[in-house]
């Protein structure tokens, strides 16, 4: 384990970004991924440990115009019980309620779940279904600069993202879903709690005059990153959810998924789950 030379708990975003710009910083939020990763040697502390939980406003959840904005240090519990999220994106609350355990939900931040970039990161799946983007902030030329990246372009591999080391995930943002939006999430693991998903799947879209539109499908733990199921989306877009269409979507979902054999499940079993969950979630959409 490497030694930490400085500790800082900034209270403003500016201070945090100035510190990041100096380099060699480990960002601490809930600590639920960082602590075990350091203790097994998968990660090492940089020279500076920066606690971002004291940054004013960074855990805020708000509506800005027609967008919902979740601050990077909002915890999974903050999201689960927030009035705005319950009203406009119950899919996120549902996913949050199946995230790890109550103790971990109370600590883990949304920014951490995203930036850890696990292919199985649970909160990422509903956010992909909601068409979310991340807002990255940095201290450039003496001012705070921000850029937005659509979440489905953000992940480049297991544990890897487009975030530069001088950037902080300030917020995750998505357009307020329309009143016709329906979305569902399903994950699997040997037990309901504290389970790293064997497969997770989310499907959402607008149901207008019996037709499923603006469909987004997201899958976890079936590839090197959480991914959008583009072929499944194409099979469903603008369609009435008949038996034939659902069968097509199930086949397409298995084309979208490219799982591997690992300690948690075999490739065969993951493909099987993708098929079952796709059918099940589309059934839920029909019932809604």
């Amino acid at each position: 384990m490497s030694d930490i030379k400085h500790y800082i708990a900034p209270t403003t975003l500016e201070q945090a970004l100035e510190t990041l710009a100096l380099g060699r910083v480990t960002i601490l939020s809930g600590g639920t991924d960082l602590t075990p990763q350091v203790s097994v040697g998968r990660r090492h502390f940089e020279d500076t440990l920066m606690n971002i939980r004291r940054i004013e406003g960074l855990s805020q959840i708000s509506m800005q115009g027609d967008e919902i904005r979740i601050g990077g240090s909002a915890t999974v519990s903050d999201i689960r019980y927030h009035d705005l999220i319950m009203k406009y994106a119950p899919l996120l609350c549902e996913t949050a309620s199946h995230f790890a355990s109550e103790q971990i939900r109370n600590a883990a931040s949304i920014g951490g779940n995203i930036c850890n970039a696990s292919p199985a990161g649970d909160m990422i799946i509903p956010l992909l279904v909601l068409g979310a983007s991340v807002e990255l902030a940095s201290w450039t030329k003496g001012v705070v600069q921000t850029r937005r990246i659509p979440l489905d372009e953000f992940f480049t591999g297991p544990g890897k993202t487009l975030r530069n080391s001088n950037e902080l995930l300030a917020a995750v943002i998505f357009k307020k879903p329309s009143a016709d939006f329906v979305g569902f999430f399903r994950k699997s693991g040997p037990r309901p709690a504290l389970e790293i998903s064997t497969v997770s799947l989310g499907i959402g879209g607008e149901m207008k005059e019996g037709k499923f539109q603006h469909v987004r499908v997201a899958m976890g733990a079936v590839g090197p990153t959480p991914l959008r199921g583009r072929q499944t989306e194409a099979a469903l877009e603008g369609q009435k959810l008949t038996r034939t269409i659902i069968d097509h979507a199930v086949l397409a979902a298995q084309q979208d998924a490219s799982p591997i054999d690992d300690i948690r499940a075999t490739k065969w079993y993951r493909n099987h789950l993708v098929a079952v969950f796709t059918e099940e979630l589309l059934y839920n959409v029909c019932q809604n």
């Binding site: 930490i4 502390f45 440990l49 103790q103 504290l194």
Partner: protein, 157 residues
């Protein structure tokens, strides 16, 4: 050695001022520096709940929390529940219902159960099960644990 920092927080209603290495976890601080051994170390990775404590009214796994983040916070551990010689009603219910066997998971289990009841005084048995998902017990099979929590919220059998 990592650098140290000064830390001020409230622990079981008493102020604590201490200097800690910045890479230390809360669990380490409590057990090895403050001699509060009630909070248990078991898995060390947030899977078992034996190290559960309450921070600013919310439970967390103290093995995953960095001690530096305790600054200005209010902490409750199992040692803070008992009032003098009187067990806390949740502790007493666990005793009365035979919910304790080896006892190792109990401090975390009782802190978590107490938090759940504070959050929702009319907790259903199903909600208890969901709320205690993050606390693993290898002896009891959980039935008597749930009976004890149910007794505190006034649910019948």
């Amino acid at each position: 050695m990592s650098v140290k920092t000064k830390l001020n927080f409230t622990l079981n209603s008493r102020p604590v001022n201490i200097e800690v290495p910045v890479d230390m976890t809360v669990l380490n601080l409590f057990r090895d520096f403050l001699d509060l051994k009630g909070t248990k170390y078991a898995c060390g990775e947030g899977e078992c709940g034996a190290c559960t404590i309450e921070v600013d009214g919310k439970t967390i796994n103290s093995c995953l929390m960095m001690a530096v983040d305790l600054q200005d916070r209010d902490v409750l551990t199992i040692e803070g529940l008992q009032k003098g010689n009187m067990l806390h009603p949740m502790q007493q219910a666990f005793v009365d219902h035979g919910a304790v066997q080896c006892g190792f998971c109990m401090p975390g289990m009782i802190i978590q159960a107490n938090y759940l009841v504070k959050q929702n005084p009319s907790l259903t048995r199903e909600e208890m099960k969901r709320g205690l998902e993050g606390n693993i017990c290898r002896c009891t099979g959980y039935t008597k644990v749930l009976d004890a929590v149910a007794a505190v919220v006034g649910l019948k059998g």
